[in-house]
């Protein structure tokens, strides 16, 4: 945000604005003394722009540098076996030089591992959205359903998703469906709750419009309810994807197969710690990208609330 605001003037002063300032005093000869004073504000402006630029870039860079420094310090002082940043970087280069190799089910490139984790998240999350969003609308619209399901949701929501994994293994008799089931169960709650809250918070004014116009249920849903709930719904989706991505790593560690979580566990069994650190960064970056994409999506559908 700050970077975007301060960045633009910096670029313009460098190219187009600077010549204008030097030309301006020329037609008016009596302002000649002012021409010496003229560049001062421009320089000041440029200085301020530069400061803004550094304020935007420097702190994050310093934060990352601090992380690497602490990491380096820990790695070089103790016998913990944590690899140094440089070693990890070298390992990362080899890992990412061939991300899509496949030597059987237990030895695949990091690209395949990430993709199969994302696939599980997509399936589990997609099923949860299919069930959770309509359920949220129903619970939000009906007081009866809301009172009926609220105790159940309150009871089941705090349960760790991994506690559901054995149930999944029992019912589905397979590691992959069990992992998907775990994603499903952990990502359904934020979607139900946020959708229901969104429906309950649709301004009464909009519903009065619907009543005066005597709109059909479908028109109420498509023209009023759905657009009004969409920002809440997308918040729910964002929370759900975040949780799903957290949970998939843990679930895959337990179930095995192909996936980033399994890869972490596999590399641990090989005592390949630098790979684990790479995996931590990869998981973080993928989570960040998912979150970012959904925030972008949400901002497309958030309308300025109109107040009289």
């Amino acid at each position: 945000m700050v970077a975007a605001v301060f960045h633009l003037p910096l670029e313009t002063t460098g190219t187009s604005a600077a010549p204008v300032i030097t030309q301006a005093p020329q037609p008016m000869s009596h302002t000649a003394p002012a021409s010496t004073a003229e560049p001062a504000p421009a320089q000041k402006k440029q200085a301020r722009d530069l400061r803004g630029f550094w304020m935007a870039v420097l702190p994050p860079v310093m934060g990352l540098a601090l992380l690497v420094l602490v990491w380096q310090a820990i790695a070089s002082t103790s016998n913990s076996g944590i690899p140094k940043p440089a070693e990890t970087w070298a390992q990362a280069v080899t890992v990412f030089s061939d991300p899509f190799y496949s030597n059987g089910p237990n030895d695949q490139g990091i690209g395949w591992n990430i993709l199969s984790s994302l696939k599980r998240v997509a399936i589990g999350f997609g099923l949860a959205a299919l069930v959770g969003i309509p359920a949220g609308f129903a619970i939000g619209r009906s007081v009866f359903l809301s009172r009926m399901f609220n105790p159940l949701i309150s009871l089941l929501r705090p349960v760790s998703p991994l506690a559901w994994l054995p149930i999944g293994l029992l019912v589905f008799k397979g590691a992959n469906p069990a992992a998907i089931w775990t994603i499903f169960i952990c990502s359904i709650w934020p979607m139900i709750i946020n959708t229901a809250v969104g429906v309950q918070r649709v301004p009464q004014d909009y519903m009065n419009v619907a009543r005066v116009l005597n709109l059909s249920e479908w028109k109420i849903f498509s023209k009023i309810l759905f657009p009004a709930v969409l920002p809440y719904l997308l918040t729910g989706v964002r929370l759900a994807v975040g949780t799903a991505w957290l949970v998939i790593v843990a679930a895959e560690m337990l179930t095995g197969g192909v996936g980033i979580g399994f890869w972490v566990w596999d590399e641990w069994n090989n005592l390949n710690v630098s790979s684990i650190i790479i995996a931590i960064f990869v998981i973080g970056i993928v989570g960040l990208l998912l979150e970012f994409a959904l925030i972008k999506l949400a901002s497309l559908f958030t309308y300025e609330e109109v107040k009289a």
Binding site: N208, V209, V212, N214, E304, A308
Partner: protein, 266 residues
């Protein structure tokens, strides 16, 4: 001429609150003729909006009957269009789409798409907002939003136009402009209008009949004043018209001399 187009008989409205029953309105008897412009005026909290919501059918009375065109008002419907105090436009639809939603609902079954489009454009034209058709409510001013709200209500060709302090949130200049526009539109369409207001000048300028309400709780109609000023009315010419001043004085007298003391006590 049908003198009892809207007929309100012995209506009483009581709300259930946490502190028990709250009597909002009692003993309301009122009739509105077809094509008549009626203003409901009173201090805030006197139940003006409650009465309007009853006519709209958004709420049902505790006891009593409301009739419109000799049929009981059982619920809200497009034949009694409402202009809401806060315009209530849907922020995700453009001005055009907001009006089209209403037009489509009322005329969609009997008319072609082209006819519906013509109606929507005509409604926008009527309030002078053709250039803002493709803008969203968030991109236009408060006065423009209110005009879209009025256009939406008028586009339905309602039998009755109900307005709940439609200009209350606007500045004085915009308000005057919209009042003049409303006068023209009403003259053109011969609509039956019930308007809630707390503005004495607005009431006298626009209406044929001013219904003055006593203070709540358990408010009722204190007095009904017939405004027999000739139409078309011009606000500048009326400013020093003796008859206009007389009506104005009568309303102020009711509001501040006879009903003022309760306001102080509250």
């Amino acid at each position: 001429m049908n003198t009892k187009y809207i007929d309100i008989q012995a209506v009483e409205q009581t709300f259930k609150t946490k502190k028990g029953l709250f009597p909002a309105l009692r003993d309301i008897n009122l009739s509105v003729a077809k094509g008549e412009f009626v203003a409901l005026i009173g201090h805030s909290g006197c139940g003006k909006s409650t009465l309007l919501n009853l006519i709209a059918g958004l709420t049902t009375p505790t006891s009593g009957v409301l009739l419109c065109a000799e049929k009981e008002i059982a619920g809200p419907g497009p034949e009694r269009a409402v202009v809401f105090q806060n315009h209530s436009l849907l922020p995700w639809l453009t001005c055009y789409e907001n009006i089209y939603l209403a037009v489509e609902r009322v005329f969609g079954r009997t008319e072609t798409r082209i006819q519906l489009k013509v109606r929507t454009d005509a409604a926008l034209e009527l309030v002078g907002l053709k250039q803002a058709a493709q803008k969203r409510p968030g991109e236009i001013s408060g006065g423009m939003k209110q005009r879209v709200g009025i256009a939406r209500a008028l586009s339905m060709e309602p039998k009755v136009l109900l307005m709940d302090e439609p200009f209350g949130a606007l500045d004085a200049l915009t308000r005057a402009k919209l009042q003049d526009e409303l006068l023209e539109i009403v003259a053109k369409t011969h609509a039956t209008v019930v308007m809630v207001t707390h503005d004495v000048d607005e009431a006298v300028l626009l209406s044929d009949k001013i219904v003055m309400m006593t203070n709540g709780p358990a408010a009722t109609i204190g007095e009904v004043l017939s405004v027999e000023l000739p139409r078309p009315r011009n606000r500048v010419a009326l400013a020093d018209d003796a008859q206009y001043q007389h009506y104005r004085k009568a309303v102020i007298d009711f509001l501040y001399t006879r009903q003022g003391h309760v306001e102080k006590a509250a």
